[in-house]
Symmetry: C2
Subunit: 148 residues, 2 copies
């Protein structure tokens, strides 16, 4: 079946026929994150547009990889790490994660954070920080921000 | 200079350092539309993410092309045509325009419509309806919606 021309929402940020997916299989590198694929390979432009929702107090995995991320916060409140810098996010700000750059998104303690994230369909798998990487991050301005 | 990791907004939907561009050069096929490229080729995933803002009462060009569109309304109110069907848009709905499918976006008469639109960097140019195409559209459910 070809993709639908129009997908509406049952409630805000819950799209008809688009399932909630696990963020990652198992592990303890993240906390309270869900994933939905809004547009995928079948939409024909070589990327996936995903919606991640991080519950209040939650965070994505601290990781890096060879592909890039183009991100826009759509709802809620939070911050992100890109490289060694922590950014406070306003809705509809733009975040770019270059190749092989450490990054992590965190919701505020009292609000969720929902973000759009564009990636290539064909991409490499994320890698986690080694103990040596973590030691370096803990000597950087990112030290207080990161959760592992 | 590599792209910025974080781009904030001066006011909602006006991003620092991202210029307002003309929607299209000249012509009378559209009305009151601006364009901003939020993420482009330099962001490395093969697509452009554009923000189009259609002023109240305005509309984009009725056109079709070989590349696809993945669209999300971010602000305001309006409708769109995909093929021969007109859809009322709620914020954060998903719109997919397949290859060679007529499409047009219109803001309501009393509100602007701001949309995100993802396209491949490498894409063909849009084509306009011929008189024969228009005659067919005017016999379809799209008849009352289209503006040319």
């Amino acid at each position: 079946m070809p993709p639908a021309a129009h997908v509406s929402q049952s409630t805000p940020f819950r799209w008809s026929g688009i399932d909630e997916l696990v963020y990652k299989d198992g592990g303890t590198t993240f906390r309270d994150v869900t994933r939905r694929v809004l547009f995928g390979e079948e939409h024909g432009n070589g990327v996936e547009v995903r919606y991640f929702e991080i519950a209040a107090g939650g965070h994505t995995t601290l990781e890096r990889h060879g592909h890039t991320h183009s991100v826009m916060p759509l709802t809620g409140a939070g911050r992100c790490l890109v490289g060694e810098t922590v950014y406070r996010l306003a809705l509809h700000d733009l975040v770019y994660v270059p190749e092989w750059t450490w990054h992590q998104f965190r919701a505020d303690e009292d609000a969720p954070l929902g973000i759009l994230c564009v990636v290539r369909v064909d991409r490499d798998r994320p890698t986690l920080p080694t103990q040596s990487d973590l030691a370096a991050l803990r000597r950087s301005p990112a030290a207080e921000f990161i959760r592992v």
